[in-house]
Symmetry: C2
Subunit: 147 residues, 2 copies
DNA sequence: AAACTATTTATAAGGATTACAATATAATAA
DNA sequence: TTATTATATTGTAATCCTTATAAATAGTTT
């Protein structure tokens, strides 16, 4: 299934006239298979074994290209570096305030909010973003044990 | 009314044992009266006339202090630098993808989303964050004119 | 006033990201 | 296939935003 996603994505890239280089392929593949939401540096480090000569700039370049084609989304949270997410299905994020873990969760898309926002502000609305913050199960457990 | 907000805020600071220096006062005052969501540099530049010797570090220091006391919120959105917001009342933001302007808009708080997220993920939910993206009226106009 | 603490300032340092020029690679045309 | 052209990668330098540091200053408390 991840395999077919990869094929789809490659088709999208080809249609957009973007070359599929080994490095680009690897970045995309890594993102598709990572359940976490890695930073550019995470990706760089993860691919360092396969591509010992790859430059950080290449990671950023490819993330930009993938973003432009719409395959990848950039998430900017409180901390210093951006995180990247394969923009596959609509989903939201829930973030642990203790361990900074980011998990997906599904909820019917808030279309009414978009509509109302468009009405009130006159914006031509394209999308929205929602995150929920809290303490994850594991960190709750740790807190209990600490007492 | 902005005046009374300022008095309230100062009271909060005093209660928290934070000194009210001229620079701190100016940063707070500027934030309270700005409808935009300025960056640290915006604030620095805006106060440059009144405080020609003020350091950028002072702006950052004060923003941190004001954040800690709960008077100011830091917004980390798409673009590189953080924006700061004094508006303590609950509201959401709508962001222009062309000019990066951030405006407020009001919508009943999405409590059900928090509840459901808590159920599905087991998180102890504290709050959430929602942003709507699109093209603002002015940029729509500019696009039309460009054609 | 003296001692203490918090704040400001100026500057340096840090990290993340981008810009750039040279090189390498892939796609296309002859 | 070879030559040509366009695109991608690499390495490095530069940039931007933010934080750290140390010295100087100002405010508080005794």
């Amino acid at each position: 299934m991840a395999e077919s996603k990869l094929q789809e994505s490659i088709a999208t890239l080809k249609k957009a006239g973007v070359r599929i280089t080994p490095q680009r392929h690897a970045v995309l593949d890594y993102l598709l298979n990572s359940m976490t939401h890695p930073t550019a540096d995470d990706i760089y480090k993860a691919l360092e074994d396969k591509f010992p000569n790859m430059s950080v700039a290449t990671v950023y370049n490819n993330l930009r290209v993938l973003k432009e084609v719409g395959l990848v989304r950039e998430l900017t949270y409180g901390d210093s570096s951006s995180r990247f997410d394969c923009n596959t299905s609509e989903h939201y994020h829930i973030i642990c305030e203790k361990c900074n873990k980011i998990e997906d969760f599904h909820y019917p898309s808030l279309d009414e909010v978009e509509k109302l926002a468009a009405q009130v502000t006159g914006y031509d609305v394209t999308h929205h973003r929602l995150e929920v913050y809290g303490i994850c199960k594991e960190c709750q457990q740790l807190e209990k044990e600490a007492k």
